[in-house]
């Protein structure tokens, strides 16, 4: 993976929002590289900053959001410094995005075809007719039956799974080099989710684009991605190769998440529960942001903010007790039984 030149580099990205109650630091310093053809998962619960990260890359933040620090380098150019027109030529063309709720992301008053051809005529300088032919091809490619008919239908005439396919077709219309998928299967049933995940894998093989996969579903992450970033409170708490993250988690939050989900392949007597709830973004504890919910927290955690430490090549964790975790987990497990 590392021998390739990254197509996207995010360095110390911070995204803040001005609100009535003060400045909300939704994303507070995250770093990652994305290489062509790889899939990077960003995992976290609500309010962890995973979606804001993707919106920052697309420059789709609300008007009260801004990026005070950090760089997003796409093919050598800093996205945060691009002019609006430069950004327009990148967005939807080279970096495309699919959203969680296909009904709200599609425009209900235009046909599927009109919405796909819009991007094609804009970015690829095709005439209407060729664009429509391409739209039909794309719909066929994403597995929509009778694409000639569907292309003239409106979003409400399609089922949830079909809409998500149409949205993928739209995102792929200009052969993007990066596809950002924000919870693309969360609203779908599992059998439909399986179809969409399979489709995304096939399309990635065919087109070679890089995918940033944003989700809270640890099963989907394991299935889809090569690397993962676990976010909590706007920060990366652990980052690394997918096998390391799952088999050898080195942050108490990651470990807690892995053990709090019921699984169909393993029987668990009692689920691990991370105590408490994610605090409001204005009320995170000083020091380590996870310290008020962490079973390893010491006095140091409450006052000093840990940095992202390298554990081994390409595996990072933000914790003062990286070494203690493995031992403590054994004790917890023993106590359980």
């Amino acid at each position: 993976m590392s021998d390739k030149e990254p197509i996207l580099k995010v360095k110390n990205l911070k995204t803040y929002f001005k609100t009535e109650d003060g400045i909300v630091k939704a994303v507070n310093g995250i770093d990652f590289d994305l290489c062509p053809g790889e899939t990077l998962a960003i995992v976290g619960e609500s309010g962890s900053g995973k979606s804001v990260t993707s919106l920052s890359i697309m420059r789709l933040l609300d008007t009260n959001g801004y990026i005070p620090e950090g760089e997003i380098i796409y093919k050598g150019k800093n996205v945060t410094k691009m002019s609006d027109s430069e950004m327009r030529s990148v967005r939807g063309n080279e970096i495309a995005m699919i959203f969680q709720e296909p009904m709200t992301a599609l425009n209900p008053v235009f046909t599927i075809g009109e919405q796909i051809t819009e991007a094609i005529t804009l970015h690829m300088k095709m005439n209407e007719e060729d664009a429509k032919t391409r739209a039909v091809d794309l719909l066929r490619k994403v597995g929509i039956p009778e694409p000639e008919k569907r292309v003239d239908q409106y979003p409400h005439e399609l089922s949830g799974g079909m809409r998500q396919r149409a949205m993928i077709a739209m995102a792929l219309s200009c052969n993007p080099s990066i596809l950002i998928a924000d919870e693309p299967t969360t609203a779908l049933d599992v059998t439909i989710q399986a179809q969409i995940l399979e489709l995304m894998k096939d399309l990635q093989k065919e087109f070679g684009m890089a995918i940033i996969f944003i989700t809270h579903d640890l099963g989907v992450v394991a299935e889809m991605s090569d690397r993962a970033i676990v976010m909590y409170g706007g920060e990366t708490v652990e980052q690394g190769d997918i096998v390391n993250i799952y088999k050898n988690p080195r942050h108490p939050y990651t470990w807690g998440l892995m053990n709090s989900i019921p699984r169909i392949d393993i029987d668990t007597e009692r689920l691990w529960a991370i105590p408490g709830v994610v605090p409001s973004p204005l009320n995170f504890p000083k020091g380590c942001k996870f310290s008020n919910r962490c079973f390893l927290a010491s006095d140091k955690c409450k006052t000093d903010h840990p940095g992202l430490e390298t554990i081994e090549n390409d595996h990072f964790s933000r914790c003062w007790h990286i070494d203690k975790l493995v031992e403590e987990v054994k004790k917890v497990r023993a106590g359980d039984k």
């Binding site: 619960e45 609500s46 089922s159 799974g161 079909m162 049933d189 599992v190 059998t191 439909i192 989710q193 399986a194 179809q195 995940l197 399979e198 809270h216 579903d217 640890l218 099963g219 989907v220 992450v221 394991a222 299935e223 997918i242 096998v243 799952y246 088999k247 807690g256 998440l257 892995m258 709090s260 989900i261 019921p262 699984r263 169909i264 392949d265 668990t268 009692r270 689920l271 691990w272 529960a273 991370i274 105590p275 709830v277 994610v278 919910r293």
Partner: protein, 391 residues
């Protein structure tokens, strides 16, 4: 498990929603959300109802609790036929006729002796009603089922409670937690008004919230805390049966596990019986003793969780399990990708409802609807080729 008493018995439950159109709002079609399903829930167990959207799992829960009026079917709670408790006049007459009288008349003509005819029925309620019918006639039976229905309804409401999916819309935003939790207990005269603070405080304590939260309003709580309040409200009446309708689906992973643990703890403590409705098979597996997999208004497979996961027999169950991503990057499983979408319950396929998507469908599947059959001890499958499809 086998000798355990059956708390809830549901026979041939149907719930159709009429589709109306035109100036006169004529009924033009029926959405068959739940179409003839039967199941038992045993005392102290958790029955999981699992399926994809539109399979009728929530409608089943709502109908069992009589938050919706079922189109047909018999719902028996703790040895009593509760169906008539919510019926009036002609509706009740028709129900008695369809459910009991025809069978009673047949039994009477089949057996010479009245007692033999009564003994013929397996179900306790059937026997009880048959005895009254044979001795006192239709008038006697009517009198039996039609007296004290107000009282019976109250009894039912107290003993069958629900925990809803959305903790944001299921708590009245204008009431304090204390009133939300105590309302039922006061209505049913279970406690004196002077005891409210103590009792509510204890309940909050039980579900892991601080006692003084009772003076707060719902908006002051997070989703997980609201769900705890919902659980406290259901517990307050000390019910026999709790239906939990997607109670943990809206919660974040870390909070979800807290609420699941809480539900399992209180079940042990209060010996509660649960119907746990969810779309997430992993969650259902964790919490349930037996599981019913539903597809398009029908039960596809019903058995203990061990059997379901070791030896799924319905092709839909097999496909559903293989579609769930496993949180382990080293497991690369071969999945069965079902074609197409779930058809609309307005126009369900003829024959087996799963046949257009089924990997092993044969001719017969598109013609004859397979009944839910017992394949082995405590393992019910509705498939002509049960057990022939493996992942």
């Amino acid at each position: 498990m086998e000798d355990k008493k059956i708390l809830l018995k549901v026979d041939n439950l149907k719930k159709y929603f009429p589709v109306r159109a035109g100036v006169f709002k004529k009924v033009v079609a029926q959405v068959k959300a739940v179409d003839d399903i039967s199941f038992d829930v045993r005392q102290g167990e958790t029955l999981g109802l699992v399926g994809e959207s539109g399979c009728g799992k929530s409608t089943t829960g709502m109908s069992v609790l009589r938050l919706m009026d079922p189109t047909a079917g018999r719902i028996m709670l703790d040895g009593e036929d509760t169906t008539t408790w919510f019926m009036k006049g002609s509706q009740m007459k028709k129900y008695l006729n369809d459910t009991y009288l025809e069978r009673f008349e047949k039994a009477r003509s089949d057996f010479k002796n009245q007692n033999e005819a009564i003994e013929f029925f397996q179900n306790e309620i059937d026997r009880k009603y048959a005895k009254v019918y044979f001795e006192e006639g239709i008038a006697g039976l009517k009198k039996l089922v039609d007296t004290g229905n107000n009282h019976k309804r109250k009894y039912f409401r107290r003993n069958a409670q629900i925990i809803f999916q959305d903790p944001y819309s299921s708590l009245n935003p204008r009431q304090r937690i204390k009133n939300i939790i105590a309302e039922g207990m006061l209505t049913h005269n279970l406690i004196k008004p002077s005891d409210v603070n103590n009792v509510v405080g204890d309940l909050l304590d039980k579900v892991g919230l601080q006692k003084d939260y009772m003076y707060r309003f719902p908006h002051q709580f997070s989703g997980g805390q609201r769900q705890r309040i919902g659980i406290a409200r259901a517990l307050a009446l000390n019910p026999k049966l709790i239906v939990s309708d997607e109670a943990v689906s809206a919660l974040d992973v870390s909070v979800q596990s807290q609420v699941i643990n809480l539900m399992m703890d209180i079940q042990k403590e209060y010996k509660l019986t649960f119907i746990f409705i969810a779309h997430d098979l992993a969650v259902v597996k964790h919490i349930s003793d037996r599981i019913a997999v539903m597809y398009l208004g029908k039960i596809a497979e019903l058995t203990s969780k061990e059997k379901l996961f070791e030896k799924p027999m319905h092709p839909y169950t097999v496909s559903l399990m293989s579609a769930i991503p496993v949180p382990d990057p080293e497991v690369k499983k071969k999945r069965i990708i079902l074609k197409g979408d779930v058809p609309s319950p307005l126009n369900p396929p003829k024959g087996c409802r799963f046949h257009p998507r089924c990997p092993i469908a044969k001719d017969i599947c598109s013609k004859i609807e397979p009944p839910l059959k017992m394949i082995e001890e405590d393992h019910y499958v509705s498939c002509h080729f049960a057990g022939e499809f493996r992942s």
